[in-house]
Symmetry: C3
Subunit: 206 residues, 3 copies
């Protein structure tokens, strides 16, 4: 079950990487690299932080299948890039929702304290997308003030950690929280929800 | 004592991250993420290199307090952003001075050889700021040839490692070295000190 | 022998870093940092993934010698920067060829499965150059669709892993595979070989 959700999340983020490769005019090998970074980067950062040996993305070849599949479906245009921005955002949101839940769960299993579980959930969720955007020389999605992005990941990681602490976390809870986070992210994009800027009443910047 | 200096350095770098978030027009969640990267990134890289389990920034929730505080003081404009560039540079310099000392000290405690202690001091000092700038899609401060930046960090890391080897390192030495490095960085900015360019007598670039 | 090839590869990538520092107008300390990232970054990422303690680049001060040497030869213009782009590409290609072989070999020695060995060979080969370009705020070489870049690294890592599995890997094989990969990269640049783009029949991007 854990594995299934991880693989779906990996596929979703990998599609977002392959679509960004299309947008930037990269070739198919670049698409494979960017899809790998997006799909596996968050999990690799999480595993390095947990310091429990070789990251699962390297240890288990299984994780390459959703990445290769993502590159393929984008290449043959099964996932069309002609409404590129919206499609990219949708797949990115699926990955975000699943990875904030899985990241917190895996950190909890590794015995970390609840605060660290929330932090690692957020890191797993935003890490892959941040790597994808930074390596492609774009300002990361996480910093786009149109619509909230990291805030739902915080929420999902906190809900997962709370459920784990209360002993009520299971497969249904995992899918439920992820679905809730996806809806929040979707509504945030549709209605252009915003969180306050980094400063109250900003003056002219010098 | 070690902890106190770490927390002050974290606060200083976190302020630099929150101020950069203001400059780039990010929202408060983006400010939190950029402040975390700037304040905790250098220490996390150091801990990953030392390979001694979960990085302290994740293991000890205490480290989040200076980050949250930094975002808050920037948000309510206790630290004003209207002389933004200068304020950002000042907080960045405090973080740089403290982290080159702390990075070398922690590497020494972990039993690394002196050369590695110097390298890890520099890495700790410039790592957080580099992550902050790279993720915000700016050319990192470390590469700005106006005023020296990494050179004082080298100096501070070398002085700390020497003091440790001679057995004369203590809390006073730590604060003394950090203060000296801050003054050097400050003078370098004020008088526009420069180190030689990467090439002797540069010709036209093709 | 392993060490010798590692040091030559480190020197080659470090030269590419120092030349990029010249191109970007950085000073000599920036050149040292960028040369370190380019020369040592791929190996450090590999060692962190292998989770076998402190990365060799930090544990063994010997690795700093090729980096310092690279910065020096660029500084005194022994390696001229007046045909900058071509020289940079040549040194980058030497590093790429050696590191895809060494990365796979070291991963194999660490007991990883063959797929992971190929992945880590590619990661070692493209990691340092990617860090170099990302930190200098350039679109990484790996994504340049003019001439193939990551594809030869895949080929070299796959050839090395196959040779290891068949028990026919030795110093001659290592140098032979690296030379073959260098020639392929060279021909790819000269004759502007291309791999297909990330999408079949790309339409206008929206």
């Amino acid at each position: 079950m854990v594995l299934a959700l991880e693989l779906v999340g990996t596929f979703a983020f990998a599609v977002s990487g392959a679509l960004l490769a299309v947008k930037k005019g990269f070739d198919i090998v670049g698409s494979l690299l960017l899809a790998s970074l997006a799909g596996l980067g968050g999990g690799v950062i999480r595993d390095v932080m947990l310091a429990q040996g070789v990251p699962t993305a390297f240890g288990a070849p299984l994780y390459l299948i959703p990445v290769a599949l993502a590159v393929l479906v984008v290449f043959v245009r099964l996932i069309r890039e002609d409404r590129l921005r919206r499609t990219l955002l949708a797949f990115d949101a699926v990955g975000l929702s699943l990875f904030c839940v899985m990241g917190s769960f895996i950190a909890y299993e590794a015995g970390l304290n609840p605060v660290a579980c929330v932090l690692l959930g957020v890191t797993t969720a935003v890490g892959g997308g941040a790597l994808r955007d930074v390596v492609a020389n774009e300002v990361p999605q996480i910093f786009n003030p149109d619509g909230v992005y990291a805030a739902p990941a915080f929420l999902g990681a906190a809900a997962t950690t709370t459920a784990l602490e209360l002993g009520i976390f299971n497969a249904f809870a995992a899918v439920g929280i992820a679905a809730g986070i996806f809806v929040i992210r979707f509504l945030a994009l549709k209605f252009r929800w915003r969180v306050p800027l980094a400063v109250l009443r900003p003056g002219p910047v010098r």
